[in-house]
């Protein structure tokens, strides 16, 4: 599974490429690889925003509202897109050194927000907002780990 670090996942101006100059041949994988970091950042930003929104509700002593769950659904959609991108990259040979770990984190992250959403229906107090905030921050943390593992 060891493949050249290649263009996949390296931020422009980030770490110096480990193996020679960036190959220009595999442009398709190259452009897709350039999407990995923006996707991680978008998901993390969305999670932080969702957590902040939920925290406001905690302060105001309110339960989770449906709109926040739509927000969580958007985050889930972004994560699914991310999974597809990483799967395509993986099949194309730009696999991380530890795919088991990577997919463990990706799949786990998918389940966190749905659980918080279930709680939101079951617990109609401010504590559902706390749960949503915790869940969103957990996903953000998992995404950060995904980025770390992708670059490992």
């Amino acid at each position: 599974m060891l493949s050249p670090a290649g263009p996949g996942g390296l931020p422009p101006g980030g770490r110096p490429p480990r193996r020679g100059p960036i190959p220009s041949g595999r442009s398709a994988a190259g452009t897709l690889g350039g999407v990995v970091l923006p996707l991680v950042l978008v998901v993390v930003a969305a999670c932080v925003a969702l957590a902040a929104w939920a925290t406001v509700f905690v302060v105001r002593d309110r339960a989770v509202v449906l709109r926040q769950l739509w927000g969580a659904a958007v985050v889930e959609g972004l994560m699914l897109v991310q999974c597809v991108v990483l799967a395509v990259l993986g099949l194309g040979g730009t696999a991380p050194t530890d795919p088991v770990l990577l997919w463990g984190y990706l799949v786990t992250a998918l389940f966190v927000l749905p659980v918080a959403a279930l709680w939101a229906f079951a617990e109609r107090t401010r504590w559902s907002s706390v749960v949503l905030a915790v869940a969103a921050l957990t996903v953000a943390f998992l995404e950060w780990r995904v980025w770390q593992i992708w670059n490992a």
Binding site: G104, W119, A122, E123, W127, V130
Partner: protein, 158 residues
């Protein structure tokens, strides 16, 4: 706040979610470690698996509530507290014994010290939601149960 005896509602849901996250994280971590790198650090990885089991039991017990589940939860959270303190202390005193990290290494510093705080919160919550005699209505919230004064010992009644 939730009624006495129930551990899985109100703040309890937050606790269950955090325990659940740690249960999943520790289980996944232990599975990868045991299946792939068992030979690298058997003690640390066995501890990871044990910690995962404790978190799973605590999560289920806290979520279910009820008399039996409460006893199980007390035990699981208690074991968790002992585990994080023991492993944390050992990993600081003798780092060579833990060449690979577990959830409890360094008092859970790899997880923002949440594993250290969590058992205390869990025990507090179990104590707080303990079933009380029907005499006192639960409206008093977190105040400790009224202690019968030291004067009326049963022996004096005779």
């Amino acid at each position: 706040m939730s009624a006495p005896g129930t551990t899985g509602s109100g703040f309890g849901r937050v606790l269950v979610v955090v325990y659940g996250i740690f249960a999943v994280a520790a289980t996944a971590r232990a599975a990868v470690q045991l299946l792939r790198d068992w030979h690298e650090a058997p003690l640390a990885y066995a501890l990871s698996a044990f910690a995962a089991l404790v978190y799973v039991v605590a999560t289920v017990a806290l979520a279910r509530g009820g008399p039996v589940a409460r006893v199980v939860a007390w035990c699981a959270v208690g074991v968790e507290l002992v585990g994080v303190l023991a492993v944390g202390t050992l990993s600081v005193l003798d780092p060579a014994a833990f060449p690979r990290a577990t959830v409890w290494s360094g008092f859970g510093q790899g997880y923002g010290y949440v594993p250290l705080v969590l058992p205390f919160v869990g025990l507090w919550w179990l104590w707080r939601t303990r079933p009380r005699p029907d005499a006192a209505p639960p409206a008093a919230g977190g105040s400790p149960a009224p202690v019968t004064s030291a004067h009326d010992t049963p022996e004096d009644v005779a």
